[in-house]
């Protein structure tokens, strides 16, 4: 059967279709809807995970283990050269796996921006004393950027960027089903993998409940409501979702018992390790061992 994929334009958010409930005490409705739709877009579009590529052709077990080695190496090293090496590996793996730089950058940019903002004071003399490189004057207050401060700040930004890029590349090249089967193959306790899978499955059910509630409220709201009324509504919906969660849990439990469920998650049998999986594991382990020394 031919594979059916959603066209990209269908995944893009459209403009303001429903202006009701915007601003004031209704802004929270829009924000909640935006949060939910952004999450759905990010999760339901498998992106590069379905395309053929070097990383996609690896077994899930080898792919997850290899990325964990690389992330650990990125955390262990104290050398900027090693981090740049990890960045080069990420770039090569990205291009060999048909992952666009834009999609990776979209995931890396927010934490990298956040870290860059946090790191700004580190560049200056009042946090990191050292040899001044250049001075800036802000409103009569002169501040000096030190060499030591610049090195410390840039190193932090580089490390966080590399580690986020690695975990994002794993995310972009791994289907959710592969992730769970990979965890199972890596001998993570089955109870834990099953609970994770069920969590993932029911996030969408509960999100649908939340989305329906917010949309219904938004579509019925014309005038501005009192803050206490809006807060009461938000609290009641959250309590409703909690109540639904507990009643779903009971229904799922009964369904599990009636079907003879033994607590083990059944996934498609993952293919065994092949030559390329061993090469990938060897390369990532080699990089990890290198990071111990520097």
């Amino acid at each position: 059967m031919a594979e059916v994929r959603l066209p990209d334009w269908l995944k893009e958010p459209r403009g303001e279709l429903c202006p009701a409930g915007k601003g004031g005490t209704h802004g929270f409705l829009d924000k909640t809807l935006m949060n939910i739709s952004a999450f759905m877009r990010a999760t339901l579009s498998s992106g590069a995970a379905d395309r053929p590529g070097a990383l996609q052709s690896l077994s899930p077990k080898a792919r997850i283990a290899g990325f964990l080695f690389l992330i650990l190496a990125g955390s262990l090293t104290g050398s900027a050269f090693m981090l740049i090496g990890a960045l080069v590996i990420t770039a090569v793996a990205m291009s060999l796996s048909n992952v666009s730089a834009a999609s990776l950058a979209k995931r890396v940019a927010p934490p990298l921006f956040f870290t860059s903002v946090i790191a700004i004071p580190v560049f200056f003399e009042f946090i990191t004393p050292g040899a001044p490189v250049f001075g800036v004057s802000i409103g009569g207050l002169s501040l000096s950027v030190t060499r030591e401060g610049a090195e410390t700040g840039l190193f932090l930004i580089l490390r966080v960027g590399v580690m986020v890029a690695l975990s994002s590349l794993l995310l972009l090249t791994t289907r959710q089903a592969d992730f769970f089967s990979g965890l199972k193959e890596l001998k993570v306790p089955h109870l834990f993998v099953t609970a994770l899978y069920m969590t993932f499955r029911y996030i969408f059910v509960l999100l649908k409940t939340a989305e329906d509630a917010v949309l219904a409220r938004k579509s019925r709201t014309i005038a501005t409501v009192k803050l206490s009324e809006a807060q009461g509504w938000a609290g009641s919906r959250m309590a409703l979702i909690l109540k639904r969660s507990i009643s779903y849990a009971e229904e799922v439990n009964m369904a599990m018992i009636s079907r003879g469920f033994d607590g083990r998650l059944r996934t498609l049998r993952a293919p065994g390790m092949e030559g390329r999986d061993y090469i990938w594991i060897f390369l990532t382990l080699f990089f990890l061992f290198l990071s111990f020394g520097v």
Binding site: I71, I203, L206, A239, G263
Partner: protein, 324 residues
Amino acid sequence: MHIPDGYLSPKTCAVFFAGMLPVWYFASKRVESELKLKNLPLLALGAAFTFVIMMFNIPIPGGSSGHMVGSVVVSIALGPWAGVIALSLALVLQAFLFGDGGVLAIGANSFNMAFIMSFAGYYSFKMISFGTPGRARKIAAAAVAGYVAVNLAALAVGIELGIQTVISAGADGRPLYAPYPLSISIPAMMVPHALFLGPVEALGTALVVSYMEKAAVGGAAKAKTGARPLWTTLVILAALTPLGLLAVGTPWGEWGRDELLGMIGYVPSGMASYEGAWKGALPGYGHPSAEGRIGSAIIYIVSAVVGSLVAVCAIYLWGRRWRK
């Protein structure tokens, strides 16, 4: 609140994984024995609920809105051990599938948001709502629990980030991970949580618990809780009393002759005539035989125990007499 990879050293991450492993194991056993077969779907749906609640914006004064973590709501509804597991599941999924929080930092994030928040929130709620609380007290207890829990978790994050400069600096002394010392990292975490994110968590927790009360959902609907939390609070407070030994200076209003002279230039005549008339059995909570700081501390604690026992005996005797 989610710490990304790169801010914590591998040894810090390893310590938190090692610390959380027995917690996860014990929590799963505890939940299994308490909830029997229901545990798996209940935990999974509890985790899914925390996921959803983090996306739910709550309107706050000024036309803005914020979202809550939700750990306290889950721990109140399902119990603290189930809360630990449910929150940890949500954090693992967020790290691996959604890139929120670091993969290596899962142990630390679980400690902060699953362990600290669940337990601090649950026991704060229980302590304030001991006995047979009315609806208002339960809601107030939930608000306090949410505020306390999120601020304690923020404090833990501040400490974890702040100690990196000490435990994981490079050979030249420069920080390799989170670059700010405790004097900066703790206020940086605490100020926004104390002023903005804490009140949002408190408001959200109180709102959800008030509707849980109405709809009789989860543990919040239980009408009566034991008085044990009150005793726990009192014992903790008593145990923390010797912390005063760390303080320097004289407590306000307990000035001696020399301090008064230094402050206002004279000693009031009434005070001058009565000062030293009665020195007490253990003057200044000390004893001439106690030498050094440790000796003084021991005598201070013994004084506190003796004083407490005398007070309890007096109250007991007064109570017996009053009953007659």
